[in-house]
Symmetry: D2
Subunit: 297 residues, 4 copies
Amino acid sequence: MAGPRGVYPARLRARRLKSRTAGIRQRVPQTTRRMNLSINAIVWGENIHEQTNAVVREIYPEGMHNTIAAALNSDPGINATTATLQEPEHGLSEARLAAADVLLWWGHKDHGAVDDAIVERVAKRVWEGMGLIVLHSGHFSKVFKRLMGTPCALKWREAGERERVWVVNPRHPIAEGLGENFVIENEEMYGEQFSVPEPLETVFISWFAGGEVFRSGLTWRRGAGNIFYFRPGHETYPTYHDATVHKVLRNAVKWAYNPQGTYKAIHDAPNVPVEKALEPIVERGPRLHKAGEAGYR
Amino acid sequence: MAGPRGVYPARLRARRLKSRTAGIRQRVPQTTRRMNLSINAIVWGENIHEQTNAVVREIYPEGMHNTIAAALNSDPGINATTATLQEPEHGLSEARLAAADVLLWWGHKDHGAVDDAIVERVAKRVWEGMGLIVLHSGHFSKVFKRLMGTPCALKWREAGERERVWVVNPRHPIAEGLGENFVIENEEMYGEQFSVPEPLETVFISWFAGGEVFRSGLTWRRGAGNIFYFRPGHETYPTYHDATVHKVLRNAVKWAYNPQGTYKAIHDAPNVPVEKALEPIVERGPRLHKAGEAGYR
Amino acid sequence: MAGPRGVYPARLRARRLKSRTAGIRQRVPQTTRRMNLSINAIVWGENIHEQTNAVVREIYPEGMHNTIAAALNSDPGINATTATLQEPEHGLSEARLAAADVLLWWGHKDHGAVDDAIVERVAKRVWEGMGLIVLHSGHFSKVFKRLMGTPCALKWREAGERERVWVVNPRHPIAEGLGENFVIENEEMYGEQFSVPEPLETVFISWFAGGEVFRSGLTWRRGAGNIFYFRPGHETYPTYHDATVHKVLRNAVKWAYNPQGTYKAIHDAPNVPVEKALEPIVERGPRLHKAGEAGYR
Amino acid sequence: MAGPRGVYPARLRARRLKSRTAGIRQRVPQTTRRMNLSINAIVWGENIHEQTNAVVREIYPEGMHNTIAAALNSDPGINATTATLQEPEHGLSEARLAAADVLLWWGHKDHGAVDDAIVERVAKRVWEGMGLIVLHSGHFSKVFKRLMGTPCALKWREAGERERVWVVNPRHPIAEGLGENFVIENEEMYGEQFSVPEPLETVFISWFAGGEVFRSGLTWRRGAGNIFYFRPGHETYPTYHDATVHKVLRNAVKWAYNPQGTYKAIHDAPNVPVEKALEPIVERGPRLHKAGEAGYR
């Protein structure tokens, strides 16, 4: 399931993106078509409760990550694979992340077990243009907190209560094809105050039977990477078997995808020598750095 | 030292008095009056180049932090003190930060020397409502990068060229009393692309003689804390002796100050038990957590 | 009630703002103090249903505008007067608006009766720095739609149902002193989608018993003017007698107030002649306008 | 004229076909194929200076609108046509606007000649999802001011000076394929303060030889419509013959295009009767409206 499908050097990927516009899709064999023309998404799953909790295992016998990946793969424009906490490098090697267009993140029980080096690696790829979709309890993941710069806390209650998700930004790409609201009959409540930075756009707000509200769909941009947080998805309920949730996830993958390829320059802090200034200037006054010396970090 | 500084209306004064806990403050009785009526600002200086570089020492014989603090203290509504890298805990003990309303941060040569625990302490205080003003090369400080969640990189050139700072948000509190632009005759160039999150508001944009532009005044909110980045301030130029720069810094301190006191709840992720739901609900379906159990982090 | 209190030429107002910081408040007689040291707020009321509907008249025998003004005047920092649709120029003469710091707007039954010239006058004052607080059914007022540039529509239901207003931006100035939520036991429901531009900040989100949510507190800036929309306030319920609602209104007036005075330059589109360019440039190529000619509008 | 333009994947094509209603389109059978597969863009030109000013006529003998349309049509994914002030209904009939995906607007000499009813028609289509790209002096067009709700003023100078446009949001769709900056050797200067609402994102900032800066690429969303303002394009210079400008315009059309079709519900303010509430509620207290009665506007 989580084999190395979709690992391509940047040059090949650029070519494949270009070839998309040539309308050749229908003519190529199934597997080639997918690899060459699809958005590469990795669904990262913590994969603990599926192994240790009977309720969760019964709902998601294949693991939540595989259920989510299957929902994404129902769209021929998406090529979703999976990665889990237990794999070497949590399944997120440099090569695999380099080939990923969008990463989805579900974690809950053991955020602390995620290696800080992998967290940093993911953050760098987001800045370079990889999309990131953070799911439900992933609000407390190291990856999300790293990119938000805030506590990302909220209030919660496990009561299987009704959640009504309202679309507040109609015709936003992530809300494509949805009605004005949709219901998840049994969900964990998440309540405000959700301590995240003011978003670029608010897409969804949830109503809970117990009296709370929550901003359930929020977008941000960090570097060249698009980030979407989507609230639903508690592991003791069948949320990821819901067709509307599937639609949101597919929409979100397409929205988060930045087709312009990896933006390595995001990491640079280049010096522009005086003699290469765009407009002719004469150096004046003292300076700290010698010619050609790198800046301090 | 401070006479009666009646800058705050009675109700603000009352609020401040109430919001203050017993801390380092009460041990310095001679300044109690002043502290209670003013915004407590800490000017943090790295204080390296002032000690090691003859040019910088000549411009700032007292250190940049003291020059900046003096500029702030010319306003009776601000009570500015200083802290430096070399002090124990970099001068930012728990007690001192707890009593601070606004922190200003200038660092350049040795961002890496700042203790990660102090960085985390500062971030927490910002989330709780302490204002933060990041100056010039502080864009690469651990504190700023921690709160932005992005690389915070930019391009640069040390040529003492002319910088023209344009106010693009007239009548913003930080631009109070300024004309439509002001000039700093000799400055280091910082050029876009400045890899920070889209700000809440853009206040200043700089024009450089060599052909670059830069978003020189940007605001964000993180938790209950207001954050302002202000570009000018290279150590080999007398920028912090400039009266207009002083005005911006004083405006920024007043803007960043959140008079509502420390917001400790920002760190909590409370469970709301079913029986305490605001609207009566009946628990349905399975759950992970036992009653009263804390959530995972 | 709606007499010409607080009408001062700009120069006097500037002086009064300055004198605020001199700590003279306590020493001057009550009425003078208020006029000289307070934020001048005008509460504009449509004043129709109070005259024509027995239910509304019983709840607001003095008119909603007077009830709101009284709530504001309980704060010595605010000097609130009223204006109504029925007065000449709807009570919003040039002179009165010129002296106003903040305008609150409640209308419902006859938005169309508001003179377009007065709408334009109000918009200009907002751009110049007058704060604007739009209340409840004012979402469909000409003034609000003029400044938003969108339909400002929403869904609604009159059922006296429970509204729970959640603070999603704790320690925002407008939420000062509030708990994490407050309840209005009987209110009209307003539901998303609320077609307004993405706000600067979302302060409140409401939960309704019937299943809807609404962004009940939103901020924007237009020119130098701060704008706040606050949802509650249907005329058949005693919402404006609620102490928490009073607190929000007072907070909002203080937040919306821009102490920097009238910004007339917002209306200008000045030509900068070549010979007055900040940097020496030489004119090149053809041009449309003769020297000194105004631009097209 | 148009061959098979297979730029859209099958699913997008299907969506487009479905979302199309019978309109002017079906009456032009020879272009049906093309229309169904491309983004329909209308380039609106004021078309005055091209007729009355020798300099402008020499640079744009076909009119600026035709030059721009040709640049867009070089992309097989765009089907650009033109409309001008002089045509009946300024070339913007209900049917034509209904079929338009994106409208580009260039005007300067006679903004006042645009019929207010057409302005309102355009605004409505933007709210329904039509993209809008406002060019250069279009900042003062009625259409743009209507949608911004602000004066949209700026400072200006006709000196054919150098403009350097910096990309401050790398990998934004509108900046696709651009370097970190591009130069327009001769342009009119536009300088801050540009009195528009804080944008969703800032894409470009310009540097001018004479010392000014300007936010030259800004995005907003109004209803379901994406709006982009792009600064360059003074009629006495050959800006719209520039290949990089062409690229920006094509990128902007693709970015502004909302593939989800016309969103008519944006104009509604529906009542939700008590008996149709999503959650069962009981009506309490008095109400203004009788059952089934429309709300006030």
